[in-house]
Symmetry: C2
Subunit: 350 residues, 2 copies
């Protein structure tokens, strides 16, 4: 080992989900939206001055912040934007989780929480989900340095009712509670409603799922102005200019088209509900999902085997290793056509 | 103070440079390129599938990495890309500067180094530039936890000859030496030539200056594969998908057009040399600049006053407070027309 290697930060490298190439495949493995971005996005990008790229973008991404503030009915000083919700949450870990006490998040949850905690050397504990893959609210009422959980949870899709979210936020007035609502638009009730009453609450959402723009990298947090100011202080100490010009323009256009947003999320919800019935018929069981994916186990075929056999048929879903997860596949809700192709394969296969 | 505020990371908020709005102004304050991006960039963006934005971008940004590897004649495993060189350098601080010993950078230098060190709680020392604003190589041969300096330096524009860069890299085999070459294309010799001989060297460059794309946020690092792997491990632990689809497409197109790149950088160099003569005639003195800006002090008018009076005339330059800096203005080299407007004002004013 070279001497300079001694000072390299040791991390367990996170391996991003497979991004298979080539056509003629059904991609139900990364919870992408099957529908394109709102029509206004293409227009906004076509109208963007490419000449203007020679200049720095607005470091405050003010146009995007204002759009989100108007849409969600909050103050502009309550909105923070970043390069996907991963950027927003990583920045939140760095900003808010500086206690000696462990932060808390569910044992089965978004796998990046553990990665960020390790990266920033934040101690953590992971209370177990109950036997139905539900978060047990009482586990989050012990002493801690901060709390984060997705709602609906990933990869289970299970939604925690707003009253239980509120109990966790209310029970932890001395730490920041982050509710990661990447999938909230597919049938959940957002904790945004609680913001007026709890200044220790931060709600994080993304454009990658319900707004069909994973490729543009836009995420945001909404919270009380003090939290947003603290986040911005850290963000400006890290990288002043993170949102490039296309992101700002496309983001604004996407927020504007509420009708398209509602139509496409409604379609995905309808497809998901139909898929639940079909999967049940085929011998799958799953916790009830309010997200754009279903976390399903088959009564006779092990998860890893089904995953591999689907892949051979060019149908990509996600399989996680680990206790309680092995048996399951996380299946993104695609278009009706994609889901029908999946069901056709399964009917033949099973 | 609320209890939750105790665990918020304390930082001295960095204030980004002024981004004045409205037309009819001459913006020579943020070292932007006066020329638009290469013509291929507009074409690449027009051809980009907006529909494709629904999917995650390639987390490895492979097309962009390959373009850079080909252009600079290095392996693909020697290239790391990020959201501007600020992202690349911040990630490098997090990855490589984990010693108890202080890192070293010049006292007059890119102001973000101190901000990142504070943010990540990295100890640092700042050797003083000599009386001609030059880096003294011998100051960087003492025990340290890592080294970073811009070459040419900012905001002085002074270039350290390659032999002196090499002496610093050679004299510090046990730590990582980062050479921040944001302005190297305006007349310097890149330390890329040293990479074959020194595995502790990391060279960072950006698309924001010489490639006219500050608005797109693209930076990169080139170094030996072990360093790049370590950077990627940390990067994937922070945010897997940072480069959005437009960045990747525009970046590839910009690298392709070498003729345009050479033509526009040559124009800026010619304008800079002409500006040096003119500024001297007007009573300014300055260290010789090899960057796209000139750090100039007038013989009779204090820097702060000149800055304010220029601003009233809608000509924006940069003024830094601090010992040895107060007297100076950092004037970006704009187009010939912009510089002529500046000179016309100064002739009248002085």
């Amino acid at each position: 080992m070279r001497a300079w290697e001694a000072n390299i930060r040791r991390v367990v490298p996170y391996v991003p989900g497979e991004q298979p190439r080539g056509g003629n495949l059904i991609k139900l493995n990364t919870n992408e939206n099957p529908y394109p971005p709102a029509p206004g996005v293409a227009e906004a990008l076509a109208q963007m001055s490419v000449e203007g790229l020679r200049k720095y973008p607005d470091p405050t991404a003010h146009d995007l912040v204002r759009s989100l503030a108007e849409y969600y009915g909050v103050g502009e000083d309550q909105v923070f934007v970043g390069v996907g919700s991963d950027d927003v949450i990583a920045m939140s870990f760095l900003t808010f989780f500086n206690s000696e006490k462990p932060i808390l998040f569910p044992d089965i949850s978004y796998s990046f929480y553990k990665v960020w905690a390790d990266l920033f050397r934040i101690p953590y504990e992971t209370p177990a989900l109950d036997e139905n893959f539900c978060i047990r609210g009482e586990d989050y009422l012990r002493e801690n340095g901060g709390i984060i959980f997705p709602n609906p949870n990933a990869p289970t899709g299970v939604l925690l009712p707003l009253s239980e979210v509120e109990a966790i936020v209310r029970g932890n007035p001395d730490v920041i509670v982050i509710v990661d609502e990447a999938y909230i638009d597919f049938g959940g009730v957002s904790a945004l409603k609680l913001l007026e009453r709890y200044e220790n609450l931060l709600v994080v959402q993304t454009f990658s799922k319900s707004r069909s723009m994973a490729g543009m990298r836009i995420g945001f947090a909404i919270g009380n102005p003090r939290l947003i100011r603290a986040l911005n202080d850290v963000k400006y100490s890290y990288n002043s200019y993170t949102m490039n010009l296309p992101s700002i323009r496309a983001g604004v256009a996407a927020v504007k088209d509420e009708a398209y947003f509602k139509k496409t999320t409604a379609k995905i919800i309808a497809t998901r509900e139909r898929a639940k019935g079909k999967l049940r018929e085929l011998g799958f069981s799953f916790p009830d999902s309010k997200a754009n994916f279903i976390f399903a186990a088959h009564e006779s075929v092990p998860g890893a085997q089904l995953f591999e056999d689907l892949k051979k048929a060019r149908i990509y879903v996600r399989h996680f290793n680990g206790p309680r997860l092995d048996d399951y596949l996380r299946i993104t809700v695609g278009s009706d056509e994609e889901m029908d192709a999946l069901f056709a394969f399964l009917e033949e296969y099973l």
